[in-house]
């Protein structure tokens, strides 16, 4: 089946994808209507979609551009707060329109911050870039704590709760689609070339500065939109939600899904959003189990000895299956 799919033209592929996306949506909405999927599950699905947007967008800078950035939560924060500010202060328009405007404003403000962070850090690489993005994230959080106009530590309350699963789902689809489009475009290939060998790319005439900023701005925009979705789901925003731990949470999903793999990002986002809920029955052991699972997953993926061992075990099963 895979080969038949690959052989399809671009437009046919897109049609197949869209159908699949619609089918999943219809299925979930249908199950929700008959009550099998209740509010609890819908809430989790909504969170999952928000995380998908965050993870896929972070993958653009971390996976495709190849630059470790630890300040993604900062972009989410500015997007969330600006979106909320707009929707709280805009009146006289229908809710859906206000929401769309708010999300756009959130994305655009985050984009501006993407430029603010991206430009001075163009020369930096590797760990230094990681540290400076961490610092930016913390500065944003601390400034928000002291900004009384958006509540400061008391939180920004009274945000209209426009978000629902449908919005989140389709925005997630949009994010994935846009990212795929970016990666498969000329600009996308330029971005990937920076990751592969920046000096060679520069020498080939690619303006690496421009594409670094492009990647940052793209990632920041969607992080801002995710932030807007989040704010309008919670109804309240607190600066402490956007601390360093949040950036790490998203980064973990990117790494586990596979850097540079959009499909991996989506799956990792789903699994890691649902996993803590699954572990509710062992409440006090949740973080411990999460930590152990994390370390185990990293070891099994990257430790050469364990990788060999798992390959051997897999082979044995395959052989057993064939001979049975």
């Amino acid at each position: 089946m895979k080969k038949r799919y690959q052989a399809l033209s671009f437009w046919k592929k897109t049609a197949v994808n869209l159908t699949a996306v619609l089918v999943v949506y219809a299925a979930i909405m249908g199950l929700s209507a008959v009550g099998i999927v209740n509010k609890y599950y819908m809430g989790i699905l909504l969170s999952t979609c928000i995380n998908i947007i965050l993870v896929v967008s972070l993958n653009v800078t971390t996976g495709f551009l190849g630059q470790l950035t630890l300040g993604h939560a900062g972009f989410m924060a500015v997007g969330a707060y600006s979106a909320a500010f707009l929707s709280k202060n805009l009146s006289g328009l229908p809710d859906a329109l206000v929401f769309i405007l708010a999300l756009m404003v959130g994305g655009i403000v985050a984009m501006i911050f993407g430029v603010i962070v991206g430009v001075p850090t163009l020369r930096l690489k590797g760990d230094y870039l990681a540290i400076i993005t961490l610092a930016f994230g913390e500065v944003i959080k601390n400034v928000l704590l002291n900004l009384d106009i958006v509540g400061g530590a008391s939180g920004y309350i009274g945000i209209p709760r426009y978000s629902n699963f449908s919005w989140a789902y389709w925005l997630a689809v949009l994010t994935v689609g846009a990212t795929m489009a970016l990666i498969n475009s000329r600009q996308g290939r330029a971005i990937i070339s920076v990751r592969e060998d920046e000096i060679a790319a520069e020498a080939s005439g690619i303006d690496t500065k421009r594409f670094k900023i492009l990647a940052f701005v793209f990632a920041a925009f969607f992080a801002g939109v995710a932030g807007g979705l989040y704010g309008h789901y919670m109804g309240i925003l607190e600066p402490k939600t956007f601390k360093f731990d949040k950036s790490i949470e998203i980064l973990v999903m990117v790494v586990l899904g596979g850097m540079g793999s959009i499909r991996g990002s989506v799956i990792a986002a789903i699994i890691l959003t649902v996993l803590p809920e699954l572990l509710r029955s062992v409440a006090s052991l949740r973080t411990l189990m999460y930590a152990i699972a994390l370390i185990a997953m990293m070891l099994f993926k990257y430790d050469p000895n364990l990788v060999k061992m798992t390959a051997k075990v897999k082979n044995k099963f395959r052989k057993a299956g064939k001979s049975a």
């Binding site: 592929k13 699949a20 979930i28 509010k39 919670m234 789903i270 949740r286």
Partner: protein, 376 residues
Amino acid sequence: MNFKKVLKGGLAAMIAMSMVACSSNDGGSSSTDDGSLKIGMIGPLEGDTSVYGIAVKNGTDMAIKDYNEKNGKNVKLIAYDSKGDSTEATNAYNKLVEEDKVAAIVGAVLSGESTTVGTASQASGIPIITPSGTAAAVTQTGPNVFRGCYTDAYQAKIAGEFAAEELGAATAAILYNTSDDYSKGLTENFTAAFEAKGGKVLVTEGYVSGDVDFNTQLTKIAGANADVLFVPNYYKDDALICKQAKALGIKSTVIGGDGWDGVLSVVENAADVEGAIFVNHYSPDDETVKELTDRYSETYGVDANAFAVLAYDTTMCLLQAIDEAGSTDSAAIVEKLQGISFDGVLGHMEFDENGDPIKSLSYITIKDGQYATYSK
């Protein structure tokens, strides 16, 4: 490849959902299954704020156990961790209402998550009572949301007036946690009340959660030489602040809010906090409270603090309302809560039209290394 990806993603989501369904089936029976009533609890059970969440959980648990024993009933507690995070709190709330079908919820513990839960509860109208969320916004989310503790505004106003009138202070200095809405709320209201009574706040210094070194701020405060030093934070920070303040020779009278309760359990040397005065829900001489906290220490292995005692009383009040309503209907319980007249360990409590409690408060001071009721 993408078709597969999307389908795989959808499939993964479905499988995940069914796994969640399976894992929660044991707690998912409706409240009429075995005739037992279910009460939910939401709060941080892990993370650096878990000391408060676990205290609330234990307090609620103890109240339910006492109630069951006294009335021969079988009320169950279902407690979920929120990690202090709004998203987790919302998920916990949804699970309690949709899956576990609880009749009421004690929660959340921190102000931010309490506001989120309150907002989320407007669709169902299920009675929510937070034993410790102090921000004004919490009860403003709806008529079904109540709180068992004072609002920041109320106790800070009392503290401000107390400082000006009772202590006769003319000047004050403040050191507060700028990243915590409890401290921030208390500071704003104290300043307003103190200055309304003619006092002057000379210097206001801040720190953020996690800080342990306040020497820089306290050096500035020492220079101001105010009559009173207002320390409206939780007991962990208060203990360290006082120690450092004493070392710097600050002689101002230290006053604080109900977050101070439990401070003696975290100081190495009680002399550090000698003479401090704080507003609290109960008097330490109170025999009933003492009996409760002793029993608590025995049962749970840790010392009780204000969160635990508040949770106990709040839960008892909730259970009384459910008794009076005679059913698990949300609207009925909410109505009974609105008009309730409850006498608990912490004295008499009623609710005003916002869902905020009307109850008495005490002034506690640390004398000879022990809590004592303040007297002039």
